[in-house]
Symmetry: C2
DNA sequence: TTGTAGGCGTTATCAT
DNA sequence: ATGATAACGCCTACAA
């Protein structure tokens, strides 16, 4: 039993392929009720399913969107995808998901694969610092949305959906200084070239500057747990006054908690603790952890809407340059208070 | 600048499309070094990228695999995908990911979409209780692997990769009884028709039977937090002796923790607490939580390997019935001890 | 209301 | 070592 084609249906139902094609596409306008039911019956009987591959040949659109996330095993990325999918699926778009795994070379390969698939659009949580890595996408005129992270040299015409990282961290820095913390130790883990963490560090830096407190950046990169413990221990030993630790990404908080446990350092008494988080587990750690919270699903939804606008799937004129409909959006970061920091 | 095709390259490089095609497919065997470099140069210059859609027309294989997870915003599903992707990507397969969102009707729709895409294979974390929902896949001879959950009436010929749910829960039940717990309250949250939780309940039930202790199943379904609190309060009020609460899925543990907090019930003193978990956050809640731990990534990897074997992508003879190469695999559940339960 | 035929970009077969 | 050409399954003018 070879694949059932439109021709098989036509033959069995005693009509032409054109009529069947019309039927498949819901073009019932010019078609007698008799033939319509006859075709329906045949389609059901032979379990006919139109070939998406063949369709794509004839149409300009594949109705497939490509998504590249930085690290799918990070909850942030999976919630991001969840938001994207919730928008695209109802709109009739299938999604190819790729995991760059924090690697720019893998990301590069995946962009090529997706362009080869002739996807109708691309949503990327970028890894590369230079926008050059994404030029091939633009030069193929494929609708594109960058989400969560930003290249410094990204052209204005390219869509972008990010959280309000710098501003929120600036405010948080002021708050911590006002609570009487003398030192703000900012821990990040940047395995890829770019990340939202850079903007966050900048926010804390300017706040520290403004309030004349000390900001100490610590890049954990891919160092191991031992390294982190030693680093925290040493840093705290050399600082005088009250210190607060800030984790710039959810997963890193795990490692910091483990380190504090091993070192026998308690919060909020020995040290304050604040973290970015994309989930709700940290509220159960002691009396909860003071959080900077993003909404990854909202980021995903906005990114997908943005993309659909470019594709022109929402009824607007789909002529002209898709990039003309690109938008740059910033979503808020909210603060969740908890007792892991202490005002003096 | 319309899409650049193989014909454009042929014209520019002064060769036939056949030669270009050979080049694209790395068929350099019969080709002068001169033409080879000439084509290479032209391809680079015009930024030619072969059309995956057109390829599929000519070949039987799309090199695309479909994956349907139950709920992508659940960490389990995203780690599952991560394991699947890590196997599939290096093997040259692109992945379409769909989120059934715990809905059988949505799952049904997604199966159709994926079959329309003519995917080379399908990995499903099933929602439907009856295998009938997946018959269309089998009848189209599409390689298939069911993962994490199982339909009771699944044919032997269909591949399956699951965790050792019943047996591990049976052993856990015995352990808890031996620790002196008189009542085992088993909380589940089954929003879809099927889930791995059923097997877990069965395991606890047989253990309770064997040790003559009481097993009380509580299905939280989609009830809200208030309901859960009342239910826990009432249940505990009516039980005499020592009681342990068991959460059959990671996310439910959140809600249980919140309920206990509100009710002012402490563990391990007032009640014991045990949970299934797919992540590592719970170790930071008090002194950690006694866990039954699966390895979702391993489940994903095994499922993907299983699928690749069926597709015949790993060099075996790819003739005959793909289903003949289906395997049914059970992976272990490990126990992580912690002080959220107390031996009498 | 229904049918015919050409073409979408590739690859496979069969020449040269 | 290289070419010409016929499919693959569908859609869409253009006819009838």
């Amino acid at each position: 039993m070879a694949k059932v084609t439109i021709a098989d249906i036509a033959r069995e139902a005693q009509v032409s392929v054109t009529t069947v094609s019309r039927f498949i596409n819901g073009n019932y306008g010019k078609m007698s009720q008799a033939t319509r039911t006859r075709i329906q019956e045949t389609v059901d009987r032979l379990e006919y399913r139109p070939s998406a591959s063949a369709r794509r040949m004839r149409q300009q659109s594949t109705h497939v969107v490509g998504v590249i996330v930085a690290d799918i095993s990070n909850v942030f990325s999976s919630l991001l995808f969840s938001g994207i999918y919730a928008q695209l699926q109802p709109a009739g778009y299938d999604v190819m998901l790729m995991n760059a795994n924090n690697s720019t070379t893998q990301e590069h390969d995946e962009i090529n694969r997706l362009l080869s698939q002739e996807v109708d659009g691309l949503i990327i949580q970028p890894n590369a610092r230079e926008f050059a890595a994404y030029e091939p996408i633009v030069s193929s005129r494929t609708p594109l949305v960058m989400v969560d992270r930003e290249c410094a040299d990204q052209p204005d015409g390219v869509a972008k959906v990010v959280a309000d990282n710098e501003e929120s961290c600036h405010r948080m820095g002021l708050t911590l200084a006002d609570m009487g913390y003398d030192n703000i130790v900012v821990l990040s883990r940047t395995r890829s070239e770019i990340s939202a963490q850079a903007a966050r560090v900048a926010g804390f830096a300017s706040a520290a500057e403004e309030r004349h407190v000390l900001m100490v950046p610590v890049e954990a990169d891919s160092h191991d747990q031992d390294w982190l413990e030693r680093r925290i221990r040493t840093t705290l030993d050399h600082l005088s006054g009250r210190t607060v630790l800030v984790s710039l990404m959810g997963p890193l908080l795990f490692d910091i908690l483990a380190a504090l446990k091993t070192l026998g350092i308690r919060f909020p008494n020995d040290v304050g603790l604040v973290s970015f988080d994309d989930w709700r587990w940290s509220q159960y750690v002691q009396d909860g952890i003071y959080l900077l919270e993003q909404d990854p699903q909202a980021l995903g939804r906005e990114a997908a809407r943005n993309l659909l606008d470019q594709i022109g799937a929402r009824g607007e004129d789909r002529t002209g340059d898709p990039y003309a409909r690109s938008r740059q959006i910033t979503l808020p970061v909210t603060v969740v208070e908890a007792d892991s920091v202490l005002a003096r």
